[in-house]
């Protein structure tokens, strides 16, 4: 569906008299999401996961590297020609409160993209209404009760469903969900995650999750791929359940160790990994980007940058000189 090779993105900040500061958002990232497939990008804020998601959705340009959609390299096309390709990829934003125009009813919100589509394909007005009702049913809303309402009359969960319905009006082949449930009430989050999983299974839409909540990424489905991103570099990549159950990169292990343990229901992992210091990007790095924070660093880590690849005995790809399995995640208390 979409592949990227060597994606580099650098943001230049305008600075004082001494000139601007450069932020390396992405440092040569490769990814590949098959048709109907699934992937999840996880990492701390500022790691570049959202920038990568926006590049994939065609909302941001990159400096180096190549994006290909269905085998067509985007660099071979003029910006205007890229549009129909990127239209297959629709983004669902974090905040369902600001993603919908408050002055438009749900019907009006869905009508605009459908009318465009009807014009392009010579369909009737009746088709628009039919399709609007259809996409709402797909996301689990009752068209009869929702269409005439305004966004403020709906809960956060319902609004996010409307946002997803709007994305579906253009028959996308992939949905990019950037922290799509973080602003939704806890008791309703799961409904949205299950909906995205269901859409993938029923419609064959590929799904990309961008999240800092690792548990959320399991909802892409167990055939999905997890990308752990640290400071613009993919440091671990593999099947979602493998990476969560058996992480080998100390950064992934720190992320998983930081997830709160529900004491009483769970017991913590035996070998939690705590970073030595907090992230400070102002210091220069000569070797591994995580070395300064890594409790297991060696001299080699401080002088040489490990690249993503495979080593013997580790099923997933990783970028660490000393990959080692550690038991970091909480386990349910045995029901004794």
């Amino acid at each position: 569906m979409i592949t990227g090779t060597g994606i580099v993105k650098t943001f230049k900040q305008r600075g004082d008299v001494l000139g601007g500061r450069e932020v390396k958002a992405l440092r040569g990232v490769d990814f590949s999401i098959p048709k109907g497939g699934a992937a999840s990008f996880i990492g701390e804020s500022g790691c570049g996961k959202t920038t990568l998601g926006r590049i994939i959705a065609g909302l941001e340009t990159h400096d180096e590297g190549e994006i290909a959609i269905d085998g067509v390299p985007m660099s071979s096309l003029r910006p205007k020609q890229r549009q129909p390709h990127f239209r297959k990829i629709q983004m669902i934003h974090q905040d369902p409160y600001s993603a919908l125009n408050p002055t438009r009813t749900i019907h009006q919100t869905l009508y605009a993209p459908l009318a465009l589509r009807a014009r392009q394909t010579g369909r009737s007005k009746a088709w628009i209404d039919e399709r609007a009702a259809e996409v709402l049913s797909l996301v689990g809303l009752d068209p009869g009760s929702v269409l005439a309402r305004y966004p403020h009359q709906l809960s956060g969960g319902m609004r996010q469903r409307v946002v997803i319905a709007r994305a579906l009006t253009v028959d996308p082949e992939m949905l990019v969900a950037d922290e799509a449930v973080s602003m939704i009430d806890v008791s309703l989050r799961l409904g949205i995650l299950a909906l995205l999983k269901d859409l993938r299974e029923r419609l064959g839409v590929a799904v990309l999750f961008i999240t800092h909540d690792v548990a959320t990424s399991r909802y892409i489905g167990d055939d999905g791929e997890l990308y752990v991103i640290y400071r613009g570099q993919v440091v671990e990549r593999g099947p979602v359940d493998t990476v969560i159950a058996d992480p080998v990169h100390p950064y992934t292990q720190s992320l998983l160790s930081a997830i709160p343990v529900l004491h009483g229901l769970e017991e913590p992992g035996e070998q939690p990994v705590v970073p030595l210091e907090s992230l400070d990007e102002s210091k220069a790095d000569t070797g591994c980007l995580f070395a300064r924070r890594c409790p297991f660093r060696t001299d080699r880590c401080e002088s040489e940058l490990p690249v993503l690849g495979r080593t013997d005995g580790v099923p997933q790809e990783h970028a660490c000189f000393h990959p080692e399995r550690r038991s970091v995640i909480a386990r349910p208390v045995s029901a004794s």
Partner: protein, 328 residues
């Protein structure tokens, strides 16, 4: 600092907001005791009344809201609900430290942290401002920050996690012994969150505090709190020792909430969203149980009678179905 941690007793607290439909309760008849030296966590979704309850501890509910009934007794201070004007202003900060929900955004962008610290000291009549700065530096150092550098910084020079720590320092520096943290880790990363929670636990123990943490995230409470209280639709539906409540929840809402958390291991299809949606101020039912619309254990009596909070040892539950089962 050898002062003993104060206890807080909230009794029958009701807070109402004036709306076009009359005065509607955001917090209704809530009783909760914060034992001296304990960390209590209140969990609730948006509109559950948890932040309103927290503000009541400062008697800081803003109009159109007002405390309509009940009391908040704090050891060494008396009933906060009765305090007014200058007395109340002094109590805030001195006795009760409050870390606001958006601590990341609650600093003045035009002043350095140090200047804001001095403002705080002057407004509370601190004579020894040097001592105050020294205390603040020490606290910042305690939280793993470079005190001098932070005090010289403007808020935009600090990361989210650093600002949150500054918020905690400002709440503690006047030696308050009751501390309220409203969503202390929202908008922070997992690793930063774990860090902040560790600091909250340590500072709590070192300074002998009585701490209240308000959050929508059960995980946060599970990590720090001794006691867990669950709010829904303005009511406290369940409370008890954290491990017991998480391990064996009794109220159907608590059960549903715990079941709705995506976990790292096990079958993901076992986790289930709660049906329906949380009530808002306008849709909270006038009579009967607030949770009945979404409840699987609903009885006839739930439609008409609001269940009383019934204590059973350290556990308190307000649910007809639970009461019926236990007395059957």
């Amino acid at each position: 600092m050898a002062q003993q941690a104060p206890g807080v007793r909230i009794d029958g607290l009701t807070v109402v907001y004036k709306t076009s439909a009359g005065e509607l309760p955001a917090v209704r008849n809530v009783s909760l005791t914060l034992e001296p030296g304990s960390i209590t966590g209140i969990v609730g979704e948006s509109g559950s009344g948890k932040s309103t309850l927290a503000l009541s501890l400062l008697n800081a509910v803003q109009p159109p809201g007002r405390i309509a009934a009940g009391s908040v007794e704090i050891d060494g201070l008396g009933d906060v609900v009765g305090l007014q004007g200058e007395e109340l202003r002094k109590a805030r900060g001195r006795h009760i430290g409050y870390v606001f929900q958006a601590a990341q955004n609650s600093l003045n962008p035009l002043k350095t942290v140090g200047k804001q610290l001095l403002d705080l000291g002057r407004s509370h009549g601190v004579d020894d401002l040097r001592g105050l700065v020294r205390d603040a530096k020490e606290l910042l150092g305690r939280m793993g920050l470079d005190g001098a550098r932070v005090l010289d910084s403007h808020q935009h020079e600090l990361s989210g996690g650093m600002r949150q720590r500054v918020g905690i320092v400002l709440a503690l520096v006047l030696n308050a012994h009751v501390v309220v943290l409203d969503e202390p880790t929202t908008a922070l990363d997992m690793i930063t969150q774990a860090n902040i929670l560790k600091i909250v636990r340590e500072v709590h123990a070192e300074r002998g505090l009585t701490t209240l943490v308000i959050t929508h995230d059960i995980g946060v409470v599970a990590e720090v709190a001794d006691r867990l209280a669950v709010m829904y639709g303005g009511r406290l539906v369940e409370q008890g020792p954290t491990r017991e409540v998480l391990g064996a929840p009794r109220h159907p809402y608590t059960k549903g909430l715990i079941k709705a958390i995506p976990r790292l291991v096990g079958d993901i299809d076992e986790a289930r969203a709660l049906p329906g949606r949380p009530p808002t101020l306008a849709t909270v039912p006038k009579e009967g149980c607030v949770f009945r619309e979404r409840c699987a254990a609903r009885l006839d009596v739930c439609d008409t009678v609001d269940p009383e909070a019934v204590a059973d040892g350290p556990r308190v539950v307000a649910c007809h179905a639970v009461t019926v089962k236990e007395h059957a």
